[in-house]
Amino acid sequence: MLVQQLINGISLGSIYALTAIGYSMVYGILELVNFSHGTILMVGAFLYYIFNIILGINGFLAFILSLLVTGMLGVIVEKLTLKPLRVHKLPKFTALICTIGISIFIQNAMMLIMGPQSRGYPMLFDNQMFTLGGVKISVMQLFITSTSIGLMVLLTLIIKKTKIGMAMRATAQNADAASTMGIPVNNIVSLVFFIGSTLAAVAGIFSCINFRKIDVYVGVTIGVKTFAATVLGGIGDLGGAVLGGLVIGIVETFTATYFGSGIRDMVAFIVLIIILVFKPTGLLGKAIQKKV
């Protein structure tokens, strides 16, 4: 039972981790908490549904297509709404409020198109179960967890080892200085939104496969929890985002099993508060010196 729940927790946590990376990347570069992230996630999940079920495109092709379209949506949203604010050097909270507005707009637009009801979600492939030392693991769980880990490793490599990654880190440190050094800051920001939105789409599709249903509210719950996960791990730090996601996922699963499902979210947030009391920057976050 214990190991079984640990595995369930990890597979839930790796979905949170994928979403948390998106939050963390945008914050790392723009110092902006992107509240539209959860909604983008929902759109990504719906696109897969639309491509696969309504348009009848083959599963994996639909998967790739929805990632690309969601990534483009992230870029377009950034160009249309956040870039003008950035160019005029408006305060950060303006952009934050703007992301809340975007989120409400997209969610309601999606509700007009798809309606409020829940729908059954298509599986990527047949869900087979196998038993390993008395513990039941589904192929889907394995696929979700390994894809999540793979994407995290790939992303870390890109950021740490490539030239584009270096440009991202430079933009994160000081956008003005980076732009004087010839780094196309706007393109880098677009790229970050593209990657973040793509990851959100992956997380959205996986979580809907995991929960086996989709509705326009799917992003709201996941959005709040992964935001908590991001803060818990240390916002702006990719490793922290992953760790935070896993912690929230495991804590939630264990609480639901051993204490009762009614208090699962409460316990997850209590853990967040306790960690923030003892380590205000999150588990892996470093104290940032504010330029005054």
Binding site: M1, Q4, Q5, N8, L12, P91, F93, M111, G115, P116, Q117, S118, R119, G120, N127, M129, K136, S138, M140, Q141, S207, N210, F211, R212, K213, D215, Y217, V218, T221, E252, T253, A256, T257, G260, S261, G262, R264, D265
Partner: protein
């Protein structure tokens, strides 16, 4: 310069936040104030109405009668609001097509409570204070009904409740009547179905942690002990927040139940069943309330819906010709969507309202109309035969359905 601008900005934000706080404080007070003023104005209204009705009879004839319908037209219960809208519209269209009631056209106004108690109370204020509405139908959920009922109670208006099944509503509020079985009637019958009809003894219940869910659970647990069953697990989930039902199912399955009674919306139950695919549930029967009697449930639960038992008052393939006609006409209004039990109960509610209206004077006052509707004793509608007790609670006959090959059929155990 830059710095000063930032400082001013902060100051401006602080001022805005303070203004918002102050406004919210005042609005809190004023909404209470409106409650009291509405109450007093309503008292005068009802006396006006009684004295006014005498003068109206001598002057002109009433051309239009308005009813207010409150339901979740948007938000997470919007599909139920749609059922409300379609069912009431269908009934009213049928009546108006025949020339209305004694020459008067019936008009409906729809109000959106977003399936939220606060919104329901706001909307109730709006409806109660508007004299043109003779009576109100709704809201949909028990929680919203409990929020709206005190406001309608003060206004002396009839509140017809098609679908909310919490016992307190009719018990506390004497201006209400309903068209769905309460948990006191339904849940013990579900327990009876599980133990006597299906022959299971080790029973578990998974319920939604809200007004309706808790009442269902309490009455079900009492019913199980009454009929000699054994409760092995009682588990709650938070509606709208829980997406992952695996931990709950794991916990319940560890207690080895023979039958699990699941409450909640069809989305909750469908999701839970779909997720049970990765668990070993072959030897376990699921028994669900009538909420899941909809094709959407089969769509969400998929193969896992096979063999699920459902207790419901409304069954669309009922051989009764008036049910068949209702289903046919409903599909025209709804654009092809088959009616669920909520639509059927709402249709019957509207039918009772209009039936009472057709028997009396059109110049009837709110309170006289209320008393006339509350005196209803029985109704033979599309959602089964209803008989009303002295608490204005309905007792509707129910049947048990089973999902076989992706279709709802009458269970052989009936």
């Amino acid at each position: 310069m830059q710095k000063e601008k930032g400082y001013n900005m902060k100051k401006a934000v602080a001022v805005i936040v303070m203004i918002l706080f102050i406004i919210s404080l005042f609005s809190g007070c004023s909404s209470q104030a409106t409650t009291t003023t509405t109450t007093s104005s309503m008292n005068t209204t009802s006396s006006n109405a009684t004295s006014g009705s005498a003068s109206i009879t001598t002057t002109s004839k009433v051309k239009e009668i308005y009813f207010a319908v409150i339901g979740p037209l948007t938000g997470n219960g919007a599909q139920y609001g749609e059922s409300y809208k379609n069912a009431t519209t269908l009934k009213v269209n049928e009546i108006n097509a025949k020339g209305g009631i004694n020459g008067a056209t019936i008009k409906l106004d729809f109000f959106d409570d977003k399936n939220d108690a606060k919104e329901a109370a706001n909307v109730a204020q709006l409806v109660a204070s508007n004299k043109k509405y003779l009576a109100v139908l709704g809201p949909f959920s028990s929680t919203a009904c409990l929020a709206a009922a005190p406001i309608f109670a003060d206004s002396g208006m009839l509140q017809f409740i098609p679908t909310a099944s919490h016992a307190d509503i009719t018990l506390k509020y004497k201006h209400t009547i309903r068209q769905t079985n309460t948990m006191q009637v339904e849940s013990p019958y579900v327990a009876y179905t599980a133990i006597k009809k299906l022959g299971k003894t080790k029973i578990a219940v998974i319920y939604a942690n809200n007004d309706a869910g808790i009442a269902t659970k309490d009455n079900f647990v009492a019913g199980v002990s009454k009929y000699g069953g054994e409760m092995v697990a009682v588990e709650a989930f938070n509606q709208d927040e829980t997406n992952d039902f695996i931990p709950i199912l794991n916990k319940v399955l560890a207690k080895k139940p023979e039958l699990i009674h699941v409450t909640g919306t069809y989305t909750d139950i469908g999701t839970m069943l779909a997720q049970s695919a990765q668990l070993d549930t072959k030897s376990i029967s699921f028994l669900c309330p009538g909420t899941v009697y909809t094709p959407d449930f089969l769509n969400i639960a998929g193969k896992q819906s096979e063999g699920v038992y459902i207790n419901t008052a409304f069954f669309a393939d009922n051989p009764d010709p008036k049910v068949a006609e209702f289903v046919k006409n409903y599909k025209v209004v709804s654009g092809g969507k088959a009616p669920d039990m909520f639509a059927a109960a709402t249709y019957d509610s509207m039918a009772i309202l209009l039936d009472v209206l057709s028997k009396g004077s059109l110049e009837i006052s709110r309170s006289a109309y209320k008393d006339a509707v509350l005196a209803t004793k029985s109704w033979d509608g599309v959602s089964g035969k209803s008989t009303y007790d002295i608490n204005r609670d309905v007792n509707k006959s129910m049947i048990t359905l089973k999902v076989v090959d992706g279709k709802f059929v009458v269970a052989p155990q009936n």
